[in-house]
């Protein structure tokens, strides 16, 4: 692919590895960066109702990247969808680049939250869902992506246990499960959400059709979690 891409060019899924390769430097979260790639692409390409033009629209869908480690796939998708210029990507991590190794919502167009410290996205997403509901905005969806090891953080469990009984139907969580939690049991992730009253689906995190079906499954009156399993984290 050409690296002198004009901002208006249209990127597809096949362009993402090339966009990611623009981000060089000692990015140590390499494997984690790709575990989220397919989930992010399906969301931004087919599910989220948000565009660069609509990023201030109160009625837009919100996507909150809570697992801020390894954001290369996220930046690549934001570039592919026109939120950030592709020519920002080579500066990844540099002093004067808006693109850090953890995203900052103040610096990155389209980033709904800054993240890096784990366990902050889901509680904020709960508040966003509450805030939209309180303003009569019953249509926009709130999505938050967390990692399976990120679920270790107790703050997530405060949010999970609240959101189910509160019936936050517009709240959606994706857990990208690359088996990186040191202490886990098979099926434990979905079970914990289900016990709190969430709708839960587990799918192959590389299968775009399965992801799309899981993302768009009906879940009346309940928040929804999609556990997206991918290959175990290398190393």
């Amino acid at each position: 692919m050409t690296t002198t891409a004009h901002d208006s060019r249209t990127y597809g899924y096949d362009d993402l590895p090339g966009l990611m390769s623009l981000m060089t430097g000692d990015e140590k979260h390499g494997p984690a960066a790709t575990s989220t790639l397919d989930v992010l692409w399906v969301l931004y390409d087919r599910v989220l109702r948000v565009t660069p033009e609509r990023r201030e629209d109160p009625a837009r869908d919100r996507f909150l990247l809570s697992k801020g480690h390894g954001p290369m796939a996220y930046y690549a998708v934001l570039a592919a969808k026109g939120f950030v210029p592709a020519d920002w990507l080579p500066g990844f991590g540099a002093y004067d680049s808006p693109l850090g190794h953890h995203p900052d919502r103040v610096l990155v167009p389209g980033a709904e939250i800054g993240s890096g410290s784990l366990g902050h996205g889901l509680p904020i997403a709960v508040g966003s869902a509450l805030g939209l509901r309180a303003q009569g905005l019953h249509d926009p969806a709130v999505w938050v992506l967390i990692g399976d090891a990120e679920l270790d953080e107790g703050s997530n469990h405060e949010a999970i246990a609240f959101a189910g009984p509160a019936g936050l139907e517009r709240l959606h969580t994706i857990v990208v499960d690359n088996s990186s939690a040191s202490h886990a049991r098979p099926g434990g992730i979905a079970a914990r959400f289900e016990a709190a009253g969430w709708s839960a689906v587990s799918v192959d995190g590389r299968d775009h059709e399965a992801l799309h079906a899981a993302f768009t499954a009906a879940h009346p009156g309940r928040p929804h979690v999609v556990v997206a399993r991918v290959e175990p984290k290398a190393g």
Binding site: I113, P123, V126, G127, S128, G131, Q135, L137, F162
Partner: protein, 326 residues
């Protein structure tokens, strides 16, 4: 956690047989409930503590009064989410569970996310001494001092609490902390949510009394030739007000704060950076007392009663004069 509700009456008896029966916290739910009626941006987030006061408000505004249960990380995180959708969250619990326990949420979900909220605490430094150290937060203001952009209001009377709560909610998307306490001065004063108020003028030093310590400071400094400034908003610190006072009263400054001693000494030093000055920071001691008992006993144990203050303020100001004469 506890469902303790402070019942210690503000000022108790005024010596004339009448009682000041309400506390700052008694004003909190009625004031914020009215603001919920008037301003569609206002939302309230609670973690069980204080929910009874909002029973009517929650019936009128079920989507804008949220009790998240005993979950303080979610309390602050959810407030940030509400703010990101354009609301003005008012967040309430005891100071120890509002600032200390979820401090990273305060730092990141409000600060780093560039959102705002009004944090309203109760229980202060030792409002419930019988509850012990787990319910004491003398370090709350000092902790907030490690962060950028916080306004800190420390009312000294229920009337002032009401005024400052209105200022806090009206402050756009600012990050504002309102520190409510059962400790109270006998009368409220006219305050503007920004500046120190000159209560007494002298020529041999400036005493800055913060919030509910004013009555004790006035008693302690009776007969001393010092200016007494009354502060109910300590961040931002009214540096210009202090400098004006110091022009006539000199640059010997005593701070009396109802939280950790010395919390504002750096602010005083910054205000007087280009002038030779002396600062004495009085307040709640760092050492854990491991005592229960009453508010009055803790006030005395920390040397914040009139007698203890008189000794230390008198000694400091007197020593300053002696030094100046050498």
């Amino acid at each position: 956690m506890s469902s303790f509700t402070p019942s210690h009456p503000a000022g108790s008896s005024d010596g004339k047989g009448s009682f000041v029966v309400d506390t700052m916290r008694d004003r909190f739910a009625p004031v914020i409930s009215r603001l919920l009626d008037e301003d569609p941006r206002v939302a309230v987030v609670l973690a069980e503590i204080g929910k009874d006061g909002f029973r009517e408000a929650i019936a009128r505004h079920p989507d804008r009064v949220v009790n998240v249960g005993i979950r303080e990380q979610l309390l602050v995180g959810a407030a940030a989410g509400l703010a990101l959708t354009g609301l003005r969250p008012v967040v309430h619990t005891f100071a120890s569970f509002l600032v200390e326990r979820p401090f990273e949420q305060v730092k990141l979900d409000l600060g780093h996310q560039d959102t705002g909220a009004v944090l309203v605490s109760a229980a202060a430094s030792f409002d419930w001494p019988a509850g012990g150290y787990t319910h004491m937060a003398p370090g709350d203001v000092a902790l907030l001092d490690t962060l950028d952009g916080w306004t800190v209001h420390v009312p000294g009377h229920p009337d002032e609490a009401e005024t400052l709560l209105h200022h806090a909610v009206a402050a756009g998307d600012d990050k504002v902390y309102v520190r409510l306490s059962v400790q109270s001065n006998r009368q409220g004063r006219v305050i503007d949510g920004r500046h120190f108020v000159t209560v007494r003028e002298g020529r041999a030093g400036v005493v800055v009394a913060v919030g509910p310590v004013l009555d004790a400071v006035l008693a302690a400094t009776a007969g001393l030739d010092v200016t007494v400034l009354y502060a109910t908003t300590v961040r931002p610190f009214d540096a210009a007000g202090l400098r004006r006072a110091a022009q006539a009263a000199g640059t010997d400054v005593v701070l009396v704060e109802p939280y950790l001693a010395g919390t504002s000494t750096a602010a005083v030093s910054e205000a007087l950076a280009d002038l030779p000055h002396r600062v004495l920071g009085l307040g709640v001691g760092r050492r854990e007392l491991r005592r229960y008992g009453t508010v009055e006993e803790h006030v005395a144990a920390h040397g914040l009663d009139a007698h203890g203050l008189r000794e230390r303020i008198g000694g400091f100001v007197g020593a300053g004069r002696a030094t100046a004469r050498v």
